[in-house]
Amino acid sequence: MLTKDQIAQRIAKEVKNGQYINLGIGIPTLVANYIPDNLEVVLQSENGLLGIGPFPTEDQIDPDLINAGKQTVTMAKGSALFNSAESFAMIRGGHVHLTILGAMEVSENGDIANWKIPGKMVKGMGGAMDLVASADNIIVAMQHCSRSGESKLLTECSLPITGIRCVKKIVTDLAVLEISDQGGFVLKERAPGVSVEEIQSKTAGKLIIEGDIPEMIFE
């Protein structure tokens, strides 16, 4: 099984040179730590920053400079600042190439649920609905099963959804999967030491297995 950092490390391999990328809160934020130095990418924060830099040192902290998770950040070289309407114009306009975010559930046709649990206090969707409705490439980072052991990869989402038919790829602690255009989770890679049978038993939606499924390799 992969740790959260290993999930992030595996997702970082999907990043391509020249991309503008929006990273959600949680595991997606960790992806920034694993993007190879030889790639030139720009991280977008939907509260109005292109070019998120590392977290500040104590003497660099600026309360007027935060990311969408309200954490203090710095600006990378060549950054730009803008208002929230402009920020979402970038997102809806298709200028952000890749969105990486967490999820509570994903369905086999690419629907995602990640904002609301009935019976619990609703905190709001923030920018998630805008992001999933707009990005061309959406990768979900999540655990394969919930804490109570229920599969999070379903035929249909049981929770209120955030967006329809939008997820392209999922990286969990057990596997890398792609959403088939015809519906279904196409198994692409296994976590080291995890069997196809285990992934099958923990995937409630339709799992498509074609040929030998390679193990992920971590340097």
């Binding site: 924060s45 939907e46 509260n47 109005g48 920053l49 590392p54 977290f55 500040p56 040192t57 104590e58 902290i61 600026d62 309360p63 007027d64 400079l65 935060i66 990311n67 969408a68 998770g69 309200k70 954490q71 203090t72 950040v73 600042l81 803008f82 208002n83 929230s84 309407a85 920020s87 979402f88 114009a89 997102i91 809806r92 629907d111 206090m121 609703v122 905190k123 709001g124 969707m125 923030g126 920018g127 998630a128 609905m129 805008d130 409705a133 707009s134 209120p160 959804i161 955030t162 967006g163 329809i164």
Partner: protein, 231 residues
């Protein structure tokens, strides 16, 4: 130049009545109008509807207005991190309208720009779409969303001049510029107020036409929600 200057926060918010619609700038606690929030707390008004991306925290920002039961309804995208908010919501004292963040920003922008409605893909197929007109353009579905306007918009900038021109700093810009235009009366508090002519016109983010009242604030706390440092 038309002089927009008022003496202080107390004077700026003196005529805000009960039961009106307010917009308040800020994302989290960054770029919030701290001085005007303090001045509003001294007013004996209730029943406010507040458009703001977030609702502050228990003891700072809009959280203070909630605690004093001045707010009837919040229109926001994310309202976590506030126990008093949760209590009032569950007890039915407070209404909340949750809106996708980009839709919220664009509805405010549209209000200030005279565009009554627009189509957006955010929320298609979700409960946000319930009761809304949807329509297909170029093979993709979109929802019809309407503008938002307010009786007063209360915003915070870094620098301003007596003509109401504003410059923001860092990510404290966020919703402030659109809200300036979407309020019938826009109150801007700034960290540094200078005479008209002293700011470089090339560097103005929000032109003074949108601002009706401006003053230099004081004692900014600029509280940090998630102090995160490099190891």
């Amino acid at each position: 130049m038309i002089n927009k200057t008022v003496k202080n926060a107390r004077e700026a918010v003196a005529d805000i009545p009960s039961n009106c619609m307010l917009m308040m700038g800020g994302f989290g606690l960054t770029g919030i109008p701290e001085n005007c929030i303090s001045a509003l707390l001294e007013r004996d008004i209730t029943g406010l509807t507040i458009v703001s991306n977030n609702a502050g925290v228990d003891d700072f920002g809009i959280g203070l207005l909630l605690k004093k039961r001045m707010v009837k309804k919040m229109i926001s995208s994310y309202v976590g991190e506030n126990a008093e908010f949760e209590r009032q919501l569950l007890s039915g004292e407070l209404e909340v309208d949750l809106i996708p963040q980009g839709t919220l920003a664009e509805r405010v922008r549209a209000g200030g720009a005279g565009i009554p409605a627009f189509y957006t893909p955010a929320g298609v197929g979700t409960e946000v779409a319930e009761g809304k007109e949807s329509r297909e353009f170029y093979g993709k579905m979109y929802l019809l969303e309407s503008w938002l306007k307010a009786d007063f918009s209360i915003i915070k900038a870094w620098k301003g001049d007596t003509a109401g021109n504003l410059i923001f700093k860092g990510t404290a810009r966020n919703f402030n510029p659109m809200m300036a235009a979407a309020g019938k009366i826009c109150i801007a508090e700034v960290e540094e107020l200078v005479e008209a002519g002293e700011l470089n016109p090339n560097e103005i983010h929000t032109p003074g036409i949108y601002v009706q009242r401006i003053f230099q604030g004081k004692d900014y706390e600029k509280r940090i929600e998630q102090r995160t440092v490099s190891k």
